[in-house]
Assembly symmetry: C2
Homo-oligomer: 226 residues x 2
């Protein structure tokens, strides 16, 4: 009891501040090089903290890696939870795509750590994928099938749709470098990114037979006899 009660606040603050610094640096370095390719010395340098202290706060590189993934999972799941904010398919899909795009914008490193972890065979995320995510996917698929049954959207395979949304939104984080190069070396501005998000929403809505707020030309297939 006394140990916990009497712990000096200042020391706790230092600890938490340093841990936060290290976690942020680690996310960036793991995003850049993956678990095996990342050196703790790189993480220490990025965090501006001596390497020995990194090992003081996180016993092993793997412990640190798991902690980084845990933080990412939290934010990923909170984006995922927006899916059921609305009953209307258009609103639900729009909200979800937006949340995923915001995650990609705000946590690009986190997204890349995730991607690298999966590409390495998901040794750490395996449990999460097989339990929480699997359940999430099953429940969301059920919702989508209900929309189809009620005639609210076109008949599509729920998994194909959800994978498309995941892949496309995460692409803006994971392939940011490629997108920048193709955009003449300039990062997408906040404005461009918001527009792109809207364009994506329209594409996704169109893919299930809904057409959001397209004003211009017809959304129904034209007679395309060229």
């Amino acid at each position: 009891m006394s140990a916990q009660a009497s712990t000096q606040p200042r020391k706790i603050e230092i600890r938490e501040a340093n841990q936060a610094l290290i976690l942020e640096a680690a996310e960036k370095i793991f995003a850049m090089n993956g678990f095996r390719g990342a050196a703790t010395s790189d993480i220490a340098r990025e965090a501006g903290i001596p390497k020995a202290n990194v090992h003081y706060y996180f016993k092993t590189k793997e412990d640190l890696y798991r902690e980084v993934l845990r933080h990412i999972l939290n934010d990923w799941m909170s984006a995922a939870s927006t899916f059921e904010a609305h009953n209307d398919p258009a609103e639900a899909l729009r909200t979800y795509v937006k949340a995923k795009m915001e995650f990609s914008r705000n946590r690009p490193y986190g997204s890349r750590v995730w991607a690298r972890e999966i590409m390495s065979g998901a040794p750490v995320l395996e449990d999460f994928l097989g339990t929480t995510l699997k359940t999430w996917l099953r429940e969301r698929s059920r919702i989508i099938r209900a929309w189809i049954r009620e005639g609210k959207i076109k008949p599509v395979e729920p998994q194909a749709l959800l994978y498309m949304i995941w892949a496309t939104t995460q692409h803006y984080a994971d392939f940011e470098r490629q997108i920048i190069i193709l955009n003449n070396g300039k990062k997408l501005s906040n404005r461009s990114y918001r527009q792109r998000t809207e364009q994506l929403v329209e594409l996704v809505l169109g893919s299930v037979g809904l057409n959001g707020g397209v004003k211009g030309k017809g959304q129904c297939p034209k007679d395309k006899s060229a």
Copy 2:
């Protein structure tokens, strides 16, 4: 002269066979761990060749890595070239999505090496992205804009559409492990994969206002007053 003319065929065959073995192994190991995370000893073991011989055929790890990327680029580009096989948007998009999905199925390791290279800042692919790919993207965007002008497809931002196709098709290679886990630990069968490809084609066509061969319910937006 004599040097080249008299080179023994058998030795050349050995060289080419070993180089092919090493390249194949390297693609797999680089896909798993990225450039920095991959050890040449791992590559040698995977290829069933002594480590020293790997360095005999490829002077440095970086040389080998560049060579692996070069091979991937070739195949990537030949999938890309299918885009203009048809004038009709529906046929062009269908053919392209199929080609990309086949690439993901046949070269999953290559796809992952590419993804990791980009996530590492594209140090090697930078030139290719800024020249060949940029040109490709610009020309394909022009084609898509022409389709829109001619009223053949809905007005969409070409880049948003192409990125969606890239991201989604590559997802099936890069996130294969996740897809397997979500599929109860089973890899998608050839049949499932072909079906999924068709479902994707339908989603993509729908996203630009075309509706492929959907027989069932209406493709035009229903009155969705729930």
